[in-house]
Symmetry: C2
Subunit: 398 residues, 2 copies
């Protein structure tokens, strides 16, 4: 297979959802016309779910794949043990290797929703980082100055707030940077919060391999609440969220995020998005209708048109017409009376009693439409009771 | 053998040539009365010579040895490859392992001039540091904050001068600190420029071994010119300097250093040294006579009384009575005419032609008492010619 060197196509790939190409778009475009390149995206498995924020970079990878270039999906199983401080205003708690293994188990499936896995090389950075000796690492560290590492915004912010930066956090970029050396790639793709780490890799690859690595950054996607999309904020839309849940979550984003989501998460032409922006600005459209369109587009990408439509109808039924979903999961409960916290855990509406307690506290639990007030309630079980958590989770007692 | 727990003796050991004991002298004194302790001094073999600066800490070790405690002499063959930035206003050039091996070859002999080697455990930190995995090291680095490492004076000084600190320099103290963890000692002895590193080791030993390590610091000895004694300044008096050279060098120290040298480099009672200080201050004595006494005392320590006396007489002959030394090494030169630079190298008065050139430039080379003016001179060789470099080096052409 030959690579596609159509200048217009290349320009597209290097424009939409691209913040920056280092050293320059022009130089990368020239390379893309010359030969097939090897590029990669690295993700640390700090949680089992990939979300639409990750998808922005993964979709960019897909575009390169469609041009005929060779894509590596790198799972940072070693670096996840150290913890990337990027974009963190607090120290990351270290993960055990068994937790990391658990987290990365579903990665292929998720990446496969976007990439053509038959053509992807999947790699794990423990392959080379667990082989790297302390002496080698110290050698690498003699090529980097402290001031270069400390100039990162987030470190400066922490210092200003009187908070600590731990030495392992300072060392993180060198490890990620060594990935580039080990794989000797032409290009790394990542969100803008990875710029610093990717540039360290660029530098190390130049020193150790005498090879130029391009860096392409994609924009950060905001989460449901407008903050950075991150598991720790609980504001993510996950690639594996079922269609209805994905749809519902998209319907709940803040109105001002609508254009950003269209740009970063759909394939709608930019012209059309520009028109949407204009309408929104001039208040010529109900944001709810735009979100419905957005949700439709996004769910379609991951589940196809049929399921996207169904999810839309379902959403309308429940929220706009205040009806119950057409299908509700049944759960059998044998007890005649049961503490509400136990009930929520058994019905898998809460992962633990403490989460269940919090849900009740937040007035997020209903039985047959009645909001529970007290987490100590004892519930009398009746067949057909509808248990509801939040706006979108329902269970019928069978 | 029992340890000596005489409180007076212990107090002496913890007083003279001791700047500080951390956490306190009292706590260490208590421990020394309770049991035999294990203590160590670590030196990185960055040069083959140990000098009187090193000897201050080595002599302190000897005192502990005489009390009956177990002494470890640690050779930092791993850490020497990284380079301790302590007291350096420039980055240390990395040493190759073969250079390090060469450097440490004569260490035992030198330490044996001060310590009773039959009772000393000699260790090399490559034993554990080359076994330490990168992952372990990253674990250690998660226990230390950046601000703690950056608060070192010398780093702050470099930042203020706009000079760089390299990451490996920042990491050095963790490696040295890990020595304490690996050896699980009771006490580390070192000069004050090692305080920071020794405290990192104290911290790590507490975390990893749950054990208190005491730190005892000894004063820094000034070199011939008053700056820190250091090979890179060329101002050292080496433990293996031959008696006459050692004697001559001591005669050349600055007058104001006399009391410091008496305190740090001899066993003269402090009372006597106080009297010397007083005389010096009141100008009741010729400093030259005090230096002769000092040189006598120091050379005696390393070579015994006989050789010390001889060195003194010799010094007097040459410098005070401007005579040639009683014995001059003969060198056979076959050429009839030879370039002065080649002659100096052949006669082992210079280690290289470029050093030879510098010596001539500095007007430090005489032939039969006549100072050479031109490094390009061609010398006509005659038997019996006296070749002289500086004040103390003579060779007779045989």
């Amino acid at each position: 297979m030959k690579v596609n060197t159509d200048p217009k196509k290349i320009k597209e790939v290097l424009t939409r959802n691209v913040v920056e190409v280092i050293p320059s778009k022009r130089a990368l475009a020239t390379l893309l016309k010359e030969r097939r390149i090897r590029l990669y995206l690295g993700i640390d498995p700090t949680s089992p779910e990939l979300h639409l924020g990750h998808a922005v970079a993964l979709r960019k990878l897909r575009e390169f794949q469609e041009l005929g270039h060779r894509v590596i999906f790198l799972i940072g199983d070693f670096t996840a043990q150290i913890g990337d401080p990027s974009g963190r205003d607090k120290k990351r708690e270290p993960l055990s290797f068994s937790q990391i293994k658990k987290n990365m188990a579903p990665y292929k499936k998720q990446a496969g929703k976007i990439l053509d896995l038959s053509k992807v090389e999947i790699k794990y950075n423990s392959e080379w980082l667990s082989q790297l000796s302390l002496k080698d690492f110290l050698g690498i560290s003699s090529r980097i100055t402290i001031s270069r590492l400390l100039e990162r915004d987030m470190f400066q912010q922490r210092f200003q707030k009187g908070e600590e930066v731990w030495l392992n956090e300072l060392l993180y970029p060198l490890l990620q940077g060594y990935d580039s050396v080990a794989m000797n790639v032409d290009l790394e793709v990542g969100a803008t919060d990875q710029t610093f780490n990717m540039l360290v890799g660029r530098k190390l690859q130049r020193i150790y391999n005498k090879k130029e690595k391009f860096v392409l950054t994609t924009p950060m996607l905001a989460g449901l609440d407008g903050r950075k999309m991150s598991k720790s904020y609980g504001n993510t839309i996950n690639i594996l969220d079922p269609p209805r849940e994905m749809y519902g979550k998209i319907m709940s984003i803040k109105d001002e995020l609508i254009p950003q989501y269209f740009e970063l998460c759909t394939n709608l032409p930019l012209k059309e998005i520009a028109a949407i922006k204009k309408k929104l600005k001039n208040q010529k459209v109900n944001p709810r209708d735009l979100k419905a369109r957005l949700a439709q587009e996004i769910v379609k990408l991951y589940y196809g048109e049929g399921k996207a439509k169904k999810a839309g109808q379902e959403f309308k039924r429940i929220f706009q017409e205040k009806k119950l979903p057409s299908q509700i999961k049944e759960v059998e409960i044998r007890e005649k009376k049961i503490a509400i916290l136990d009930l929520l855990v058994k019905a898998k509406l809460a992962s633990s009693k403490s989460e269940a307690k919090r849900l009740v506290f937040q007035r997020g639990v209903k039985i047959n439409g009645r909001t529970l007030q007290n987490w100590q309630d004892l519930i009398e079980i009746k067949k057909g009771q509808i248990l509801q958590v939040g706006k979108r989770k329902f269970v019928k007692i069978g």
